[in-house]
Homo-oligomer: 264 residues x 2
C-alpha cells in the first residue's frame, strides 16, 4: 500500500497566503516534511483556482517540483488548471480525478491519454451523490471504465476511488464496509488487477476526541490494506496512523516477513 500525502491543500490558510504572494517557501517546507515522512507521492490540491487557474497552477507545480521528484497528483476540478498543471509537470503524474459528471468526462478524461497520465475515477453518481450499496458502486465502476474507453483512455490508466464516507453519516458505517468490499472484489469482478485509492480524511469527520479518532482511523486503515488497497491518501505527518498504514501494508502484501521491516 503506497502512501500519498494529502497535506498540501488550498484550504489551509498558509497555503492560500503562499499562493497570493507567489511565495514557494511554505509549500516547499511542507513538501519537504512529507518527503521525509516517507510519502510515495504528493497530492497537489489546488482547488478550482478561479482567476489563478494558469499562473497559480504553474506556481504550485513548480514549487513542489523544486524540492521533490516524487509522483504528483494534480487535484483540481478545473480543466483549464488541470491542463496547465499537466504542461508544467515533469514528475510522474496522476490526474485527480474524474467522475460520471459530463463536463469531467469531456474535459478531464481525454487529458489522461494526451499527457500519458494515470487518472483517478470516483465511484459517484453524475451529480456527485454517493451510491447506496456495493452493487451500485460496481455499476458505476463499469460505467467509468466504459466512458474512459470511449474517450480513448485505457483501463490500465484508471485508479478507482470508492469514496470513503464519514462514519457520522446516517449509514456511514455500512457504507464504509461497502467500500472495503468494493476494493476487495473489483479486480475479480473486472477480471484485471484494478488499482484502487482511498482518502482517509473524511472517515472521522466530526470526531471530537482525538484518541477515538485515532483508534477508528487506524482500524480502518488496516482493513483497507487487507482489502487490497493500492494507494492510501492520508495525513502523512500523522506518525501513528502512518506507522499503522505501513505495518498493515506489510501484513497485506509481503511474501516474507522480518521484524526489521516494521518501522516503529
Amino acid at each position: 500500500m503506497k502512501l500519498i500525502a494529502d497535506n498540501l491543500r488550498i484550504t489551509k490558510t498558509d497555503i492560500q497566503n503562499a499562493l497570493k504572494a507567489y511565495d514557494p517557501k511554505p509549500i516547499q517546507a511542507l513538501v519537504n516534511q512529507c518527503v521525509e515522512k516517507g510519502a510515495w507521492a504528493i497530492d497537489v490540491n489546488t482547488g478550482p483556482l478561479g482567476k489563478f487557474s494558469e499562473r497559480g497552477m504553474t506556481f504550485f507545480i513548480e514549487a513542489v517540483q523544486s524540492v521533490t521528484e516524487l509522483p504528483l497528483l494534480i487535484d483540481t476540478s478545473n480543466p483549464v488548471a488541470m491542463r496547465v498543471g499537466l504542461e508544467a509537470v515533469d514528475n510522474k503524474v496522476i490526474i485527480n480525478g474524474f467522475s460520471l459528471e459530463s463536463h469531467k468526462l469531456e474535459k478531464i478524461v481525454p487529458l489522461a491519454e494526451e499527457y500519458d497520465a494515470d487518472i483517478i475515477g470516483f465511484l459517484l453518481y453524475p451529480d456527485s451523490r454517493v451510491p447506496r450499496d456495493e452493487a451500485k458502486r460496481f455499476e458505476i465502476a463499469l460505467e467509468l471504465f466504459e466512458q474512459a474507453d470511449a474517450a480513448g483512455v485505457s483501463k490500465e490508466r484508471i485508479i478507482i476511488d470508492p469514496v470513503v464516507p464519514p462514519l457520522a453519516w446516517e449509514d456511514g458505517i455500512v457504507q464504509a464496509r461497502a467500500v472495503l468490499n468494493v476494493i476487495r472484489m473489483l479486480p475479480d469482478l473486472l477480471s484485471f488487477p484494478v488499482r484502487t485509492i482511498a482518502g482517509l480524511s473524511n472517515l472521522t469527520t466530526g470526531a471530537g476526541d482525538k484518541t477515538k479518532k485515532r483508534l477508528v482511523e487506524q482500524s480502518y486503515i488496516a482493513m483497507l490494506a487487507a482489502a487490497g488497497l493500492d494507494y492510501a491518501l492520508m495525513d502523512i505527518l500523522d506518525h501513528e496512523s502512518v506507522s499503522v498504514a505501513k505495518a498493515s501494508g506489510i501484513l497485506a502484501k509481503e511474501e516474507l516477513f522480518s521484524w526489521g521491516m516494521v518501522s516503529g
Copy 2:
C-alpha cells in the same frame, strides 16, 4: 467481536504457586482485573495438570467462579481434567478444544454434547502440524465437522480456530493471510454461520521491540475483525490492543455508528 482473556495461564509462576498452595487469591485478583477490562469470557488455561487433574481443575474453576459469572473456556488437553472442569462449572462453558488427534476425538469431543457445551476445533493435522494453505484448512474444517457429527456433536456447537501462526515463521506472513481468508470464507463454504476464534499471542512471538509488536498486532486485530472473527483470545490487560479490538469490532459488525460507542 467478543474478547476473551488469555491471561489466566498455568505457565505464569504466580498461577503455578497459587495452584501448589491451593490459594485462590492470585487467581481471583487476575480474573477481577480481566472482568474490569471488559472481557466477554475467561480462558482457564490449566495445562494438562498431571497429578493435579482432579483437585487442581476443581480448584481453578471454583476460584474463577467465585468472582465472575462470565463464560469460561476450559483449556486443557487432558480429558480427565476436562470432565472434572465440566462437572465443576456453573457458568456458560466452552471446551478448548479438539483437533483431528484421535484421542481428542474419542475423549474430548463427546463431552460437548454430554455437558451442553460449545467446543473449539483447531485447524491442525492429527499430528498437530499446521496446514500449508487455505485449501488444506478448508479440508480439515470439513473433517472436524464430520468427526464431531459422528460423535453426536452438532455443528452449531463448534467454534473453529484457524490457528494464527507466528509471523517469524518462514512463511508466517502468508499463513497469517490464509487465516484471514479462512475466517472470511468458512461461513459461505459451509453454508451456515460458522463461528470462529483466533488467539493473538503467537502472532508476534520473537518481536524484540514493543512498538513494532504493538503496530503489527493491532493491524492484524483489525484485519481479523474485518474478516468476520467472532471471538478474539487476547491479553485483555493490554489497554491499547483491546481498544483497537473494540473499535475494529464496531467497524466490522455494527449497523449504526456514533462516536459515543468508541471507548478511547
